[in-house]
Subunit: 220 residues, 2 copies
């Protein structure tokens, strides 16, 4: 059994947040949904608790959630990331931030986009500075797959970051989702992991499947 964390899912009322919250609460973590409005976060948390059959998930503003957590998980869309992180910079100091979010360039979301900063994850690290350990993870797991907590996730989680201890947290949290976390190297490698999401979106469209994913082969 791994360590139990207080997790803040920032922007957690979107596509990925509820599925992550449901699965991590089931695994024994304390989960807080963060949102711009506390009420909306509480409403989404109540929906997740109904599925869980127990009041395990709470809802707060993103700022309160970031303050209360050990580990923050960022699931806001790329366009909203920078403004949110500027407001959380101080309260996240000394913590780990797991960025789930991907640099996409709508409407061409199936075309790989490398922003000037390299990736959404590298951009988050640049904004938050060296006192926050940013890790990229969970970018390739589709919302479709997360929602149904009884369904196994057929996708490995590639974890990129510059701090081994922070990557270990994300790798444990991947295991707690019922999938496998793999150390994929330094944070600069996040541009490939994020870009893979664009490739998977394209594969979903081209091959008419709801949620393609990736697996690393050749591991023990």
């Amino acid at each position: 059994m791994g360590q139990k964390y207080t997790l803040a899912i920032l922007g957690g009322t979107g596509n990925e947040g509820p599925g992550l919250a449901l699965r991590w609460a089931k695994a024994g973590h304390t989960v807080i949904i963060g949102s711009r409005e506390a009420e909306k976060a509480q409403r989404v948390a109540a929906g997740i608790n109904a599925k869980l059959g127990a009041p395990l998930v709470s809802g707060m503003t993103n700022l309160e959630a970031a303050q209360a957590c050990d580990v923050a998980v960022l699931t806001v869309p790329y366009a909203a990331q920078n403004a949110l992180l500027e407001t959380l910079k101080d309260v996240l100091r000394g913590k780990t931030l797991i960025n789930v979010n991907v640099a996409l360039n709508p409407p061409k979301v199936a075309q790989v986009y490398i922003p000037p900063e390299g990736s959404a994850s590298e951009q988050a690290q640049a904004i938050l500075g060296p006192d926050v350990d940013v890790v990229a993870a969970f970018q390739n797991v589709g919302a479709h797959t997360l929602e149904d907590a009884d369904h196994p996730i057929e996708c490995d989680v590639l974890v990129c970051g510059d701090k081994k201890a922070a990557k270990a947290i994300a790798i444990q949290l991947a295991g707690d989702l019922g999938t496998r976390g793999i150390d994929a190297g330094p944070l600069v490698n996040a541009k490939v992991v994020e870009g893979l999401t664009s490739i998977l979106i394209g594969i979903n469209i081209r091959y008419k499947v709801p949620g393609s994913g990736i697996r690393i082969t050749g591991l023990p």
Copy 2:
């Protein structure tokens, strides 16, 4: 049964060339190993023919091989790519070039490197111009895996390119290797497929395995 091609493996005396040649010759294609020196190409071809038990593979200079082929497969190291392609620009006109080569930045080969052109594949297209259809493929299949022709390849082949017909050739050739080719979108997506090679190199080191690979899940 798919179409049979005359394939020129340019720089085919290196790590990937012999394994690709062996498997494609077995699948019924006419295979030419290209090298700077015809003699070296012939020597490597003779070694492959000894394994095949039949003189199916020939050796030529890269220029002669590029002239003789229907489809060229580029397996020279990234640092040698531009100079070679400049000399082959004219003879490749109207043909498909499948680039196997990856933009790496030695000695940090496990760190994703995005060159100014985006990827080795995009750079090849820029040099060759619109009269050559460049496709990125086979970047994630390790030489280790290719060499042993009796061993199945546990790695999907992500195929990127801007021309559907050229991608279809690479997808067929992936099937002829005994693996699965998947349309991964336009050539700009090659930067992620090439970068994945750096991630796999890092995984091989970190997890002490000889050849990790990738599979796309969720496809029929």
